[in-house]
């Protein structure tokens, strides 16, 4: 019925050079760290990473940048990872900075089949460059467009074998939104449980969104 579990090799086989990957987490909290390990091991190059922030050079998805595997990052904040700034200055990584609330809405648009969203955020700043501006009832808004990925890597706390995911506390952040906006969705879960063991109202990512489940090697 549900056969979603994959191992290291199964996940590694999904990875290719030049892929666009969304990775959940907020400064490392809620990031699927074992999956990041496996990307490091495989050494795929020139990735486009969509993420809230580039975390740290030695923790979270920021390790991929330190390993020079990332050619392009779409994110809201790079200040905590010295490598991102350094490579940006060198010209070896392209950085698109997007306001955090806009970033999550753009991902949500892709996941929800919406063509775009009007936000007041960024009006009158350099964020509006190259964007369509619309005025609704006298207020200016930027039209922000959907953002999708080939692969979304999600950090779950508790997952049942069908693929229903629960997120503890602030590990939630971008994870459930990203789980809607990629062709293939892999959840690294800290704990795997049998179907029926999760209170259904706790589920933030319903099982049909999850392609593969990987049991975390981190505590």
């Amino acid at each position: 019925m549900f056969h979603k579990l994959i191992d290291r090799k199964g996940f590694s086989d999904l990875l290719k050079d030049d892929m666009t990957i969304m990775i959940g987490g907020f400064l490392g909290c809620g990031t699927p760290e074992t999956l990041v390990d496996i990307i490091l091991e495989k050494g795929v190059k020139n990735l486009t990473i969509i993420c809230n922030d580039t975390a740290f050079a030695d923790r979270g998805l920021g390790r991929l940048i330190a390993a020079k595997q990332v050619g392009h990052v779409i994110t809201s904040h790079i200040g905590t990872n010295v490598e991102t700034g350094k490579q940006m200055v060198e010209g070896s990584i392209k950085v698109d900075l997007v306001p955090q609330g806009t970033l999550v809405e753009r991902i949500r648009c892709a996941g929800a089949g919406l063509g775009g969203v009007l936000t007041p955020t960024g009006v009158g700043t350099i964020v509006e460059e190259g964007k369509q501006k619309l005025t609704v009832e006298g207020v200016d808004y930027l039209l922000e467009l959907p953002l999708r990925a080939e692969l979304a890597l999600i950090g779950g706390s508790l997952t049942d074998k069908a693929g229903n995911v629960v997120y503890n506390a602030t590990t939630c952040n971008f994870n459930p939104i990203m789980a809607m906006a990629a062709d293939t969705v892999v959840v690294e879960t800290r704990k795997l449980v049998e179907i029926g063991e999760i209170q259904p109202e706790l589920v933030m990512t319903p099982s049909p969104l999850v392609t593969h489940i990987f049991v975390s090697e981190k505590s």
Partner: protein
């Protein structure tokens, strides 16, 4: 023609139920489409979504097991399977519009050879509203229309819908008690005929132009 309407409806439901693969997410409309759930082939697990906010919807509750907090989009009491979960309407329609639902099965007032559908209003007569139907047909990966071939002797499948549309060019497949059609870029294609019917009978009861597929089959029901 198949005169027994109940038999006709069950032929349609049974045929549609054969379309689904294991673990696909499916949304069934109210009425005829709901019957499809009774005919899922053994060994296939179809995951039912209802747009009021449930995935993993099960059958109607046994007497004494009713929970008024678990309903479907028709307002009927249902159950949730062990892998079921709940969410709000924003998430529900994000799933629907965002191409996460593999199939939607809906009824029709009219459906046409261009894949356009009319199902929510007969101006001046009956105005139930579109509910979630407009989002479902635009958002689901596959749109199957389940309909009796004719109503009061009049064809339901037309050259062009005359009633206000639910959506334009969205239908993938039309299943009646007599036939199965696919909407293709080249127009409507008849791909299956019920064993008790014939291409001639279908032509006589269909107001649309259609081609007969080279590999025309007998409807498996």
């Amino acid at each position: 023609m198949i005169e027994d309407i109940n038999l006709a409806k069950n032929i349609i439901a049974r045929r549609i139920a054969r379309e689904f693969k294991d673990n696909q997410l499916v949304n069934l409309g109210i009425g005829l489409p709901t019957l499809v759930a009774n005919h899922i082939p053994e060994g296939i697990n179809v995951i039912f979504q209802s747009e009021n906010g449930i995935i993993g919807m099960g059958p109607a509750p046994q007497p004494g097991q009713e929970n008024p907090d678990i309903t479907n989009a028709g307002g009927a009491l249902v159950t949730a399977l062990p892998y079921g979960c709940y969410f709000d309407s924003a998430m529900s329609f994000a799933l629907i519009r965002g191409k996460h639902v593999e199939y939607t099965v809906l009824g029709a007032l009219e459906v046409d050879q261009e894949g356009s559908l009319a199902s929510w209003i007969i101006p001046g007569k009956k105005v139930p509203g579109m509910g979630g139907a407009m989002d479902l047909v635009v958002g689901a990966r596959n749109v199957i229309i389940s309909t009796l071939h004719t109503e009061r002797g009049k064809p339901k499948i037309l050259k062009k819908c005359t009633l206000p549309l639910t959506a334009k060019h969205v239908v993938n497949m039309i299943v009646t008690e007599l036939a199965v059609f696919r909407v293709t870029p080249g127009g409507l294609a008849l791909i299956e005929v019920h064993k008790d019917s014939s291409v001639d009978e279908i032509r006589a009861n269909t107001a649309a132009d259609f081609i007969v597929a080279d590999n025309l089959k007998t409807m498996e029901v």
